[in-house]
């Protein structure tokens, strides 16, 4: 899916929990997320903290989209 959309000429940032799968399916910009049932959240946090966590992850994704890459890159920090 990621790879196929990118093939049509759009940069894609893949936000996903299972980075090895993302590498396998051919994503070029990868942002690791929290957990499979809640990639962009964490039910253990209070709602405000959870939203802040999500905001940070999305900002990281935006940064990935603005970063030139030549090969599959995982944006960890």
């Amino acid at each position: 899916m990621v790879k196929e959309i990118e093939r049509h000429g759009l940069p894609v940032v893949h936000m996903c929990t299972v980075v090895p799968i993302s590498l396998t399916v051919g994503a070029n910009r990868i942002v690791p997320t929290v957990a499979i049932p809640y990639p962009l959240g964490n039910p253990a946090l209070d709602p405000a903290e959870e939203k802040e966590l999500r905001r940070k992850l999305v900002r990281k994704a935006l940064r990935a989209l603005q970063t030139e890459v030549t090969e599959q890159t995982v944006f960890t920090d």
């Binding site: 899916m1 936000m15 996903c16 799968i21 809640y38 962009l40 959240g41 939203k51 030139e68 890459v69």
Partner: protein
């Protein structure tokens, strides 16, 4: 001996009905040859005859696939063919899909062989290659002159019952046969070749994954148009399109203009591959709509495409991914989207 009977399936364009403006025409059949079938006539003359041509508008075939396929199948059946010829579709996405759907219907219901022509990267090729001998073609209709003799040769081989090992896009099926030597001997032979640096052919290729070149980065995200896509199955509450929980046959497209935040009342997941409790409580955990909306408002993101797209996939490659991605990308490009955030579970 009487000649083999062939039915040819083509689209509205090759049938001479018209282009994109006629892509909604319903299935029709004509006795004998219409359009490109003429080119096949000479090549097949001594063994087979195109006894009928069935055509349909590409949009009609794709948008009403169930009825269209059923009608096309009955039209094909009415000619009692020995083989069905589809295309060539070259790189025309919707025509390729149509040819593929016809191949599948014929293979599963009439149990007669199908020969087609298609460009390897046409999404229809990946989706439906297992149902036909698809001869690889160039990506444009200018390759017709090359495609016809190759397809005709494949038709002849198939009708003659010859064992066909190449000249088509592999169907991706595993087929048993008895080898000359037993397995252990073949293993020793393969090992000797591997030791000696000679070429050897594995009998079971482990799955490999192709890559795509990274697209250039977005220069300034505050001016860019972003779209949200997810393979985690985020859908409006009630799953209005009835997206299946796994191996879904369709993707969802939903307007996000009126939603600023997901709640248990307006969103849920359709994905059957994980515990849905957390996503159903707050779908922002799968599709970060709340923060993205705020960031657009605050100017951190230029603008947002008005729809989100939802598929159900476990991350592993599924045959339909290409088809979905092609359809989604088309709509995103039409709306001048610059980049995509795709979330997965």
């Amino acid at each position: 001996m009487s000649k083999f009977r062939i039915v040819h399936y083509i689209n509205q364009f090759y049938a001479g009905i018209g282009g994109e403006d006629k892509a909604d025409v319903q299935p029709e059949k004509r006795d004998g040859i219409v359009g490109p079938g003429m080119a096949f006539r000479g090549a097949l003359a001594d063994v087979a005859e195109i006894v009928g041509t069935v055509f349909c508008g590409d949009n009609y075939m794709n948008d009403h696939s169930e009825e269209a396929c059923a009608t096309v199948l009955e039209m094909i059946r009415s000619y009692q063919p020995d083989l069905v010829l589809v295309g060539p579709a070259f790189n025309a996405g919707r025509y390729g899909m149509a040819c593929g759907m016809v191949a599948k219907m014929v293979d599963e219901n009439l149990h007669i062989p199908v020969v087609g022509g298609i460009y390897e990267e046409n999404p229809g090729a990946d989706m439906y290659r297992r149902y036909a001998y698809f001869v690889p073609t160039t990506n444009a209709a200018s390759g017709m002159r090359k495609a016809v003799p190759e397809m005709a040769a494949m038709v002849k081989k198939v009708l003659a019952g010859e064992e066909i090992r190449d000249g088509y896009l592999k169907k991706g099926l595993r087929q048993n046969y008895f080898a000359e030597e037993r397995g252990s001997k073949r293993a020793v032979d393969m090992l000797l070749k591997k030791i000696n640096g000679e070429e050897f052919v594995t009998e079971y290729p482990m799955p490999v994954f192709d890559r795509v070149e990274p697209q250039p980065a977005i220069k300034d995200i505050t001016k860019a148009r972003i779209a949200l896509v997810s393979s985690g199955g985020p859908v409006p509450k009630g799953n209005p399109d009835h997206i299946e929980s796994s191996s879904a046959s369709k993707f969802g497209k939903y307007c996000l203009k009126d939603i600023d935040d997901f709640t248990p009342e307006n969103g849920q997941t359709a994905h059957g591959g994980y515990d849905p409790v957390y996503a159903n409580q707050d779908l922002d955990r799968v599709l970060p709509l709340d923060v993205v909306k705020e960031m657009v408002r605050d100017g951190e993101i230029g603008s947002l495409h008005d729809y989100w797209y939802a598929t159900v996939g476990n991350g592993t490659a599924v045959a339909s991914a290409k088809k979905f991605a092609a359809a989604i990308a088309e709509q995103l490009l039409a709306d001048h989207v610059d980049g995509v955030i795709l979330t997965s579970t």
